[in-house]
Amino acid sequence: MSALQVSYLLVLVPALAAVATLALRRWQGPATLVSVGAALVSLLLAVVGLVVAPVRGTDLVPLRGSYAVGGLDLPLQLGAGPATAAVAAVVALVAAAVLVFTRWYLAADDRLAVFAATVSLFTAAMMLVVHSRDLVLTVVGWEVMGWCSYLLIGHWSRKESARRAALKAFLVTRVADIGFVLGVVGLCAGAGSTGLDTVVAAWTSDEAPGSPALRSTLLVLVVIGVLGKSAQFPFQDWLPDAMEGPTPASALIHAATMVAAGTVVLAQLFEVLVLADGARWVLGLATAVTMVGAAVLALGQSDLKRLLAWSTVSQVAIMLSALATTTRDVGPDPALFHLWSHAIFKSLLFLTIGWLSVIAGSTLASALRGAGHGHPLARVAWLFGLLALAGAPFVVGGLSKEHVVVTAYEGAASAGGPGVVVLAALLVTVVLTAAYAVRAHLVVSAPVPNSPIPPLGPDTPGPNGGIGEKSTGHAGMPSAPVLASLAVLTVLTVVGGLVLLTGLFDVHGASVWWMVLTTLLIVIGGGLAWLARGSGDPRDQFVRTPRHRALADSGFGADTAYRALVARPVLGLARVVAFLDREVVDGYVRGAAASAGVAGWLAERGHRRESPSAGLGLLALGLLVAAGTAVLTWR
């Protein structure tokens, strides 16, 4: 099996599984089995793909011919490469884990099959983005992911907050996608083809189809789209709200798909990106702001799931910052490597908190206190996940973060650019990340035993037809496959860094000095958190006043800002337009009708005296008109 065939299958298998699952939705058990089976097959395929992955730089013979639409070439090809294979593998892994977990977690949900189908479709879309060698296919996967995220986040559609979160997620990303689509359109139109290689070749050649300014503008547009999908500033606020979705959905969205997709796309466009300084600056500044801000917010969250969400925002910012700072020599692989490691540990964290929330009945920090007691696997998984998140040395997250830091340093040292800003932000983020990781750990492993049957917290996903996270019959103990997948993820979190030995990612060695420095920073951050834990509720370690807590939970009021700056003006404009349409545009039409009526009335008045002499009066008028025209037109 060639690498290309694998890539096609990796897209097709989950897509077909989605259709099949949807068709079988009446029979939830078999339906979900189909999607889980397909996910496992995909995983197998992805492993095969790792084995057969072509050596860097080899050209693959396309499986199909190219299409053309008018003057536009539409190759619609998929591709394969070492980094692609690695990312595909981790996507397949996370998807499989999520599906396995879902079968347990949502066992009693009446729309389990639909959920599973959506997850499969989501996976297919991400696979499409990963393997795409055509920008249109990238857009296809990109948008389908957005739609699936809408469905997944809004899965519990009987709950108003979920409906709103889904709407917000889709709308915010879609607004950012204006930029993405325009950027892609501009790049493709300039190159006369949507093929990625053609586009990159065209825009990096000396006779680029547009000025450097245009190139930079287009890349900025693409970056805006990426910022939206990856929940970077100023689009960050949809992601924490998206926690209204079921936890498996969050795991999928955060770990391996949607938010990470931007990294993949920018890596594909890397050759052009390095030439576009403007785009790099935008990306660098946005990510720098985001990674620090999100880390601060993570520190203040009263809900651990939202803490994880903010941590995702921060971590994705780290990935993207690598792309903003890296040089042509280093390439995009540090970012992809961080994507890889982040996918593993973040899915582990989310699945674990899903489990813990079943135990505790809520994801609120207050409810989760001590939830890990009696569930050693959960505690271990949570611990290693947090270690990786904090970037402890040698676990997978630590390794990848080292590479990002080194990349940023090298970028700052060699090329200037946004590197300096990013590097500074990275170092601050390291401290903050360590701090909130320690806090998250402290909450779960707190010595206070949780009450056996905790009440439904306000943030608990509400019953969906009477069934939710709090279904009876679990007794808090997941099924064996779930435990197995958690175990696999945990192991990979620890040893995942070994992937560097395979050469799939083309990254340079990390520097020992930087490792020492970051370790030091981690210790400082973790230590501070430890010292600040206090004696009381660990929830209140850093955010002590209710006002500050509210500020943190609202993400610095970004939602209010969205409403005030976008939603309300647009709706106001819409009302104005509706008024104009009714009264002005249609007014002309009604005016025409009315003027016909008035003309008729006038004419009728003119003919009121229907008498012979009136007729003769009109005759005089007619003669005058005729004579007048005769005189006037005479020359």
Partner: protein
């Protein structure tokens, strides 16, 4: 060369008077008279033109004969209609309401 100004002026005067009569009068018979004036003016014009320059088939002389004949027929019909109207309405004022 003698200008035939006189006949043309007469023709114009007759037509003008006729048009005025048609427009100003409400009595059907007077309207009829006005039309007759227009006709006479036209006939004068025709004959004067025939005197100025020859016309094919002596049209300037023949056409008036035709016109006079038609006018006679027209007057007959007109008077008949006016009589009918008078019988029904008791007046031949055209603007009188039904």
């Amino acid at each position: 060369m003698i200008h035939l100004l006189g006949p043309y002026v007469v023709a114009a005067l007759l037509v003008g008077l006729g048009v005025m009569g048609v427009l100003a009068r409400r009595n059907a018979v007077l309207v009829l008279v006005g039309v007759e004036l227009i006709l006479s003016g036209s006939l004068v014009l025709l004959v004067a033109a025939g005197a100025t320059a020859p016309s094919r088939w002596e049209a300037s002389s023949v056409l008036p004969l035709f016109v006079i004949t038609i006018a006679a027929a027209e007057v007959v019909v007109a008077l008949a209609v006016i009589l009918t109207a008078f019988r029904h309405r008791g007046s031949i004022d055209m603007d009188e309401a039904l």
